[in-house]
Symmetry: C2
Subunit: 281 residues, 2 copies
């Protein structure tokens, strides 16, 4: 596996592979790999001849006061893991190489208006911008994103569709710990006590699915019962949001008569954890 730092070198390398008729798979990451990342790499590798993985802690998607400086990093371990998953290249650019000249942003106002976009202004503009750049550098046939970041996936799908990027944006099911907690690099911020309580986030989502199956289709009612569940089962958590939204536009829906995403963000100690579930009517 080769480590590439220069964006234009990556672009030349991938253009050559494309010209040779090879199929390229791509997984963009911020590093500090856990089993979720490795599952994305396996999925992309299975659909391609060359797997490209990027590791870039993108400054523009962090707000002031967020954890950019503290974001966990371990390039040596990540390199070993990516090589083990069959990556042909690990792209590790410097921020200065990714942002050069007068500023240009890819903005996705509708999809970014709610959920994490509301709590983290500018976050999805940073995500859409850097992912557009990465896709234009790596020129993959397929790029794989985790469904844990469901709004991010919707942002990237809207961006790729509107900009006519000739790439398949594939979602990969959330990878969970044995007790149901969605895997996240930010889980390392949890104390042992918080870690023990955190699976309640996912249990709440499963409860909502049960209530829906039992006939409750009104989102306001379901959200009320979910908040009660969290108040009882996860009293130390502060709910940032718990919203029912359209899977493509991420705008709120009132009733479940087509597939709907229930997305939650919960602050637990120093961590802000997100999870979601797709609810079929």
């Amino acid at each position: 596996m080769e480590i590439v730092r220069d964006p234009l070198e990556l672009q030349r390398m991938c253009a050559t592979w494309r010209r040779e008729g090879l199929r390229l798979g791509f997984v963009p990451t911020m590093g500090y790999f856990h089993a979720g990342h490795l599952a994305l790499m396996d999925a992309a590798r299975a659909q391609s001849d060359r797997l490209v993985v990027s590791l870039f802690v993108n400054p523009s998607q962090f707000g002031p006061g967020e954890d950019l400086a503290a974001y966990p990093r371990d390039l040596e371990r990540d390199s070993r893991l990516a090589a083990e998953r069959g990556a042909a290249v690990l792209f590790v650019p410097d921020p200065e190489a990714m942002y050069r000249g007068p500023d240009v942003w890819v903005d996705v106002p509708q999809v970014a208006a709610h959920l994490c976009g509301a709590s983290r202004p500018g976050h999805f503009r940073g995500v859409a911008t850097v992912v557009a750049k990465l896709l234009l550098l790596a020129q993959p046939h397929v790029a794989v994103f985790g469904e844990k970041d469901r709004q991010q996936l919707a942002v990237i799908r809207a961006m790729a569709r509107q900009l006519f990027l000739p790439v398949e944006i594939a979602g990969h099911p959330i990878v969970r710990e044995a007790d149901g907690l969605a895997m996240s690099s930010r889980n390392v911020y949890l104390t042992p006590g918080e870690r023990a309580a955190a699976p309640a986030i996912h249990r709440g989502l499963l409860r909502v699915r049960d209530w829906l199956l039992a006939g409750e289709r009104h989102c306001a009612a379901l959200a009320g019962r979910l908040r009660e569940f969290y108040a009882a089962e996860l009293p130390e958590g502060r709910i940032d949001y718990a919203e029912f939204v359209h899977p493509e536009t991420m705008t709120p829906v009132a009733e479940i008569d087509a597939p709907v995403v229930l997305a939650v963000a919960v602050r637990l100690g120093k961590a802000r954890l997100i999870d979601n579930v797709l609810l079929e009517s």
Copy 2:
């Protein structure tokens, strides 16, 4: 010459040409061709094996109250002219095909902050967005833009550079009528009297060049003398702006000690005319 309306058909066609090793030249336009457009086509054709021309009156770059509905159109004549200049394909998409799904914008705040960007809020966001889409569809090796729209050229260069679009953005010198008026589709809005007066716009720019050669390097002084010139020579014109800016960032400069663009916009009757000149120190 083939007329293509479906964006994805254009993308497939151009991808095939690229795979065959052909060099693609591209000229995006809003149609109603004059000699300026034809010069861009000739320049692009001279550097390529296949010339792609697009004709799209892009709604998102017109503000409320601007001339979107009234913008002059003549597809039959334009088709004939493009074919005569050797275009292989004329791309004429419907607005609905170019904007599909949740909205996504390419924003270039710094380069768009002054000049036309200040008078026409949202204009360059519309330009950058549609040109990004067109470049991703046509996948040209070189795209040619007129230097009359100097800020547009700077916007597109910044966009292509930041997004790592693998395309050369070539500027083409302003094509002028015999009396110096910069060619523009909007010149048709001028009455005969306004048309006779309009070349004063360009003469003013040449005067500034003379004053600079004579030793005046302060932009405020030069701008003051230019406004006096227009007050005397073009009393019916209302100056939207007359600014000295950095050629890449389009931000104002105070003194000319490196190449600087002097850009003006003048309202004359129903038309808003722009012109500019590159001043070397």
